[in-house]
Amino acid sequence: MSVSMATPGEGAAARQRRRSARLREYLVGYSLISPAVLLLVVLIVYPALKSIWDTLTTVLVQSPTGLVQVSHSPSLEIYRQLFINADYRLDRKAVVFTIEVTIITLIVLFAICYPLAMYLRFGKGRLPAFFRTLSLIPLFIPTIISAYAFISFYQQGNFLDVLLQNLHLEQTMFGGRYPQLIDNRTGIVMAEVWNNIPITVLLLGAGLGEIDNSLIESARDVGAGLWRIFAGILFPLTLRQFLVAFILAFIGVMGSYNIPALLGPTLPQMLGPAMNDNISQQRLIIAEAEAVLTFAIAAVVGLLYVVAVVRQRQR
C-alpha cells in the first residue's frame, strides 16, 4: 500500500497528522453514505434475509381451519414441495414461464435495439434525430398507462380490430377472425420490449458514441462488411453497455407485474402476478419462496455482469 507508506525522513508527528486526517475523511465519508446504506439495509437487506430464513423454516399445511403455516427446523422443504407437490404445479409453471418470457423479450429487444442504436449513431440528417426522440418516449410513460394503451389498441373490438375490418383484411387474410396479439405471451413480450427500448438504446448509443469513426472507416477500407464490422468492432467495444442493458432489462422483465397482469394470458402467469395471487390467498410462504427464487436468478445474472466487467478491466 503505497499511500500509507511514509516517505523517508518524515517525522512521527507528521505521520500521525496524516493518519488522523484520513480517519476524519473516512468518518465524514461513511456518515454521508450511511442514510443510503441504512435505507438499503432496512428496506432490502433485512426483508430479503428474513424471506430466505422464513422459506427455510416454514411449510404450508392444510388444517381444519384452512391453510396454515407451520414452523420447523431449517431445511429446503418448501422448495422441495414447490418442485414436486401437485398443488404448486402452477407455481412451477410460473417460474418456467417467467424465464421463457424474459429470454424471448431480451432476444427481441436486442434484435431491435442494436440496429436502432447503430442507425441513430451513424445516420445523418433530421430523420435520426426524430427517431432518437421517438425512441425515448416510452421512458416517460408509466407501465400501467402503456399497458392500457396496448389494450385499447390491440384488444378485440378496439383500434386494430376495427382497422383490419374496415380494410377487409380480417375477412380476406384471417378468415374473419381477429388475430389478437395481447392477452397471451406475445402481448407481454411486445409491451416489455416497448418499455425497455429507451434505456437500452440510450446505453448502447453511449457505447457506440465512444467508438472512433476512423476505426470503422479503416475496416471498410480493407473490405469488411456490415456484419463483420458489427461482430468484430461494434459489439466487442460496447460489451459493457450491452451487459448493463441486458441486466437492467432482465431483472426488470422478470420482476414485472403490471404488464403480465394486464396483457398476459389467464394462465400460465408470470412470477409477479403469481406472487400477488399467493399473497391474496394467504399462502405467504409460497410467495416468499418465489421471491427468493427471483432474487437468486437476479443474483446469478448480476454475477455474470461483475465477472464480465472484471475480466474486461484485467485485459
Binding site: T65, Q156, G157, N158, T266
Partner: protein, 390 residues
C-alpha cells in the same frame, strides 16, 4: 363488499394510505348554539371512495340536520387497507392497557371479517344490535341480516348480476343451466373475470359450485369451514373446464370486474357478470351504453350486504345506535340507492316506487348462502388449478 374492496385496494396498493378526515368543523350547528351539551360519535368507514363520498356529502350532513345534538367525526380507512391492525388490534391494545373506551363508535364492517386473539371472539369486541335499540332493523330481510349474527346491521348491499347486450341478445337466460347453454351456443361472446381478481367472477364460479351441491350441503357452508363439504366441487370444475373453449378468446379471463365491463362496453362480448352497483353506475355515467341490460338469474347469483357495527369499547354507544337507526330509515336508504347505485339494506317494499323501478329486474334479490371466507380462498385456488388451460 369485502371481496371487492380488497381487490380494488390491491390494484392501487401504491395508494395504501390511511386518510383520516375530521369533519367536525363542518357540522358545528350555529342555530342550536344554546342547545344541550353536544356528544360526539366517532365513525370509521373502510369503503371505497364512492362510499366515503356518500357519508361526507349526504348521510352525515343529513344526520346533523336531524340530530344537531351530535357531532360526527368521520375517518376513512381507504379500501380497508390494514383494517385488522387499525381497528381490532388497536382495540386489543386498549383492552390490555385497561382502557374503558376508544374513539370508535360506529365501524363500517362486519365483526366477523376479523381475526381475534386466542380465546376471544367478535362477541368480546362488539355489541349485539337488536330491534329494541335500533327499531329500523325490523325493516331488514332476516336472511340479509343473518351473516352478522346480530352483531352488525346490513345497511347496503350489492349482488352479482348478468349484463347483456340487448341488441344482440333478445331473450336472456333465466337460469344457470340456460346461461351455460347460451355460452355454448354463442362461442366467444361471454367471459367472467378470474375469481381472485374480482367478485363478479368469484360468484359466477360460486353459482357453478352451488349447482353441483345438494341444498343441505350448500346451506351447511354457512355453519363453518369443513372441507368435507367440498367433495362434489370437482363436478363444478368439470362444467367450467368444458366451458372454457366457448369463452372469449377461447378461455381468457380478464383481470378484474371493470375489465369485463370494458369488454361489454366495446361490444366485444355480448354477455358477462357484473356487480349490480358497478353495472348501474357504468350505465348511469354512459360508460356502458343504454342498450346494455342487467338481469338476475333464478336462483340468483350470490351477493352480499355491507354491515355496520358498534364496538364494545365505544365511548358513545347510545349515539351510535341513534346514528345506525337513522341510516336505516327509508329516506336515507333511498339516498344510498341513488348515490352509489347500491341495494338498500332494508327491504325494497319500504322504498319509494321510483327507486325500486330504477333497479328493475335485478331487484328480485340475491343469494345470501355463499359464505366467503376460507371457502372463497379454496374456490379461487382450486379454480385456478383446475379450470383454465395452462
Amino acid at each position: 363488499m369485502r371481496t371487492r374492496s380488497r381487490l380494488v385496494g390491491r390494484s392501487v396498493a401504491a395508494l395504501a394510505v390511511t386518510v383520516g378526515l375530521t369533519l367536525s368543523s363542518d357540522f358545528m350547528p350555529t342555530r342550536h348554539a344554546a342547545a344541550a351539551a353536544k356528544s360526539t360519535i366517532y365513525f370509521t368507514s373502510i369503503g371505497d371512495v364512492n362510499v366515503a363520498d356518500l357519508y361526507r356529502n349526504t348521510l352525515i350532513p343529513d344526520f346533523n340536520k336531524a340530530f344537531p345534538q351530535y357531532t360526527v367525526k368521520f375517518t376513512e380507512i381507504l379500501h380497508g387497507i390494514n383494517d385488522q391492525s387499525l381497528v381490532v388490534d388497536n382495540m386489543t391494545a386498549a383492552m390490555n392497557a385497561g382502557k374503558s373506551s376508544v374513539n370508535l363508535d360506529v365501524y363500517e364492517d362486519s365483526p366477523l371479517n376479523y381475526v381475534y386473539p386466542a380465546g376471544k371472539t367478535f362477541k368480546d369486541y362488539f355489541l349485539p344490535l337488536t330491534v329494541k335499540d335500533i327499531p329500523n332493523i325490523a325493516k331488514i330481510d332476516p336472511k340479509v341480516q343473518a351473516p352478522a349474527y346480530g352483531y352488525g346491521v346490513a345497511y347496503r348491499a350489492s349482488a352479482v348480476t348478468l349484463v347483456y347486450n340487448s341488441q344482440q341478445v333478445s331473450t336472456p337466460p333465466k337460469t344457470y343451466s340456460q346461461l351455460l347453454a347460451w355460452i355454448k351456443a354463442n362461442p366467444g361472446k361471454f367471459t367472467y373475470c378470474s375469481p381472485a381478481d374480482g367478485g363478479s367472477g368469484d360468484y359466477f364460479v360460486a353459482a357453478a359450485i352451488r349447482s353441483v351441491m345438494s341444498a343441505s350441503d350448500y346451506a351447511a357452508l354457512r355453519k363453518g369451514y369443513n372441507t368435507g363439504l367440498e367433495k362434489h366441487w370437482p363436478k363444478a370444475w368439470a362444467i367450467l373446464k368444458a366451458l372454457e373453449p366457448d369463452l372469449y378468446q377461447n378461455g381468457y379471463h380478464p383481470s378484474g370486474n371493470v375489465a369485463v365491463l370494458n369488454l361489454l362496453a366495446k361490444g366485444t362480448i355480448s354477455m358477462g357478470t357484473a356487480w349490480s352497483d358497478q353495472g348501474l353506475s357504468a350505465l348511469a355515467k354512459g360508460v356502458l351504453p343504454s342498450y346494455m341490460h342487467m338481469t338476475q338469474l333464478n336462483p340468483p347469483f350470490p351477493g352480499g350486504p355491507a354491515f355496520m357495527s358498534v364496538p364494545k369499547l365505544a365511548q358513545n354507544p347510545a349515539g351510535a345506535k341513534v346514528f345506525l337507526n337513522f341510516i336505516l330509515s327509508p329516506a336515507e336508504q333511498a339516498k344510498i340507492a341513488v348515490a352509489i347505485q347500491g341495494f338498500p339494506g332494508i327491504e325494497f317494499k319500504y322504498l319509494p316506487a321510483s327507486v325500486v323501478k330504477h333497479f328493475g329486474t335485478i331487484a328480485s334479490g340475491y343469494d345470501t348462502g355463499w359464505p366467503g371466507g376460507p371457502y372463497d380462498k379454496d374456490l379461487q385456488r382450486l379454480w385456478k388449478l383446475n379450470v383454465p388451460s395452462s
